[in-house]
């Protein structure tokens, strides 16, 4: 008779937890699932990569660097769409988080080149603007993190819907502006205007970009809680870096408008 007589008689366990795939996933070691530490380390790595490439384009100006920055931005955009798709409209392009370990470094490095170029040009016009913009970006991010961790800001589906609509609205405004600028050679006055309207627009965009950080913190938090696969660390870190870069560029633009 078999040693596992009970199993032979009654079959496999009826306990849904033991039967389900969830048990197998939970039984994996910590190396296999997303952790907060892992997401933080990857965010730090991506940030260091962005700063490194930004330093290169800051120090070596010229037409060649302009071309490299252009290629960098194009590669970053392709990487972002390849990973996130249009997650608000998942039926158009589905998000593919498993690509994040490959696309996140490309995005960080590519955007770094563009950031260095833009920052250097604005720094020559408004000395000290880069330090101010970087400091304010991290101050806003740290403040929102504390508000999120303590539960003061609690994102729900309505918050997600509002943020998705607002972000998409800004995205289409910038795309329309880009097409308009390519066709006519001038851009929308609301974006470039240094008057009250332009400053107001930049302020609204900064607030929306900042609130997007809350969604990124929630992605990382839930990925660690639900023991998702390891690549979600890269995905969360990429989302956070994307929003930080966006926030930095908008704060840079806002300060430039205020100082001009």
């Amino acid at each position: 008779m078999s040693k596992h007589a009970a199993l032979d008689t009654f079959g496999k366990s009826g306990n849904p937890l033991i039967r389900s795939d969830l048990f197998d996933k939970a039984a994996l070691g910590n190396e296999e699932v997303t952790t907060l530490d892992g997401a933080v380390n990857k965010t730090a790595f991506l940030l260091a990569l962005t700063v490194s490439t930004a330093a290169i384009s800051w120090n070596y100006q010229g037409p060649m660097m302009g071309l490299i920055s252009g290629i960098g931005v194009a590669a970053a955009m392709i990487s972002a769409f390849a990973t996130f798709g249009f997650w608000m409209f998942t039926w158009i392009i589905k998000p593919t988080p498993h690509r994040a370990p490959y696309t996140a470094p490309i995005y960080a490095a590519g955007m770094g080149f563009a950031i260095g170029l833009i920052s250097q040009q604005l720094e020559s016009q408004f000395p000290g603007i880069v330090i101010q913009a970087v400091s304010l970006t991290f101050f806003v991010a740290a403040s929102l993190l504390l508000l999120y961790k303590t539960g003061v800001i609690r994102p729900d589906q309505n918050f997600l819907l509002i943020m998705a609509c607002a972000t998409l609205g800004i995205f289409f405004t910038y795309i329309s502006n880009f097409i308009y600028a390519m066709a006519t050679g001038s851009s929308f006055s609301i974006i470039t205007d240094t008057g009250l309207m332009g400053i107001g627009f930049s302020l609204v965009v900064v607030v929306i970009a900042a609130l997007n950080l809350v969604l990124d913190f929630d992605i990382i938090e839930q990925a660690a809680e639900t023991r998702t696969p390891k690549y979600m660390e890269w995905f969360g870190a990429m989302a956070l870096i994307m929003t930080l870069i966006w926030l930095y560029l908008e704060i840079l633009r806002l300060i430039a408008k205020l100082r001009s």
Binding site: D21, L36, D37, A39, V40, T43, A44, W87, T90, K94, P95, P97, G128, I131, Q132, V134, S135, L136, T137, F138, F139, A141, A142, S143, L145, L146, Y148, K149, T150, G151, R154, P155, D156, Q157, F159, L160, L215, F217, D218, I219, I220, E221, Q222, A223, A224, E225, T226, T228, M232, F235
Partner: protein, 79 residues
């Protein structure tokens, strides 16, 4: 370097430390223990969940030939 730039630089360094330090901590129960959280898993793992469910249903519906033991004979119906 102006005073405001120096102040902002110090604020920035402190903010970076705070950001990377507190990001490692789990959020409070006020944040995590609630029903109206955003279902990120549903959004990002929609395709994986669909494939898993489809595969498990196919497995469930397929005939279980392997479970038939060799000792069991087919029923022999005689008139």
């Amino acid at each position: 370097m102006s005073t405001i730039t120096l102040f902002l630089a110090l604020l920035g360094i402190a903010s970076i430390i705070v950001l990377f330090y507190f990001l490692r901590f789990k959020a409070s129960s006020r944040q995590t223990d609630r029903d109206n959280r955003i279902p990120w898993n549903k959004i990002f793992f929609q395709r994986e969940r669909y494939n898993e469910t489809k595969a498990s249903l196919e497995k469930k519906n397929s005939p279980k030939v392997s479970e038939q033991t060799s000792g069991q004979d087919d029923a022999d119906f005689k008139d």
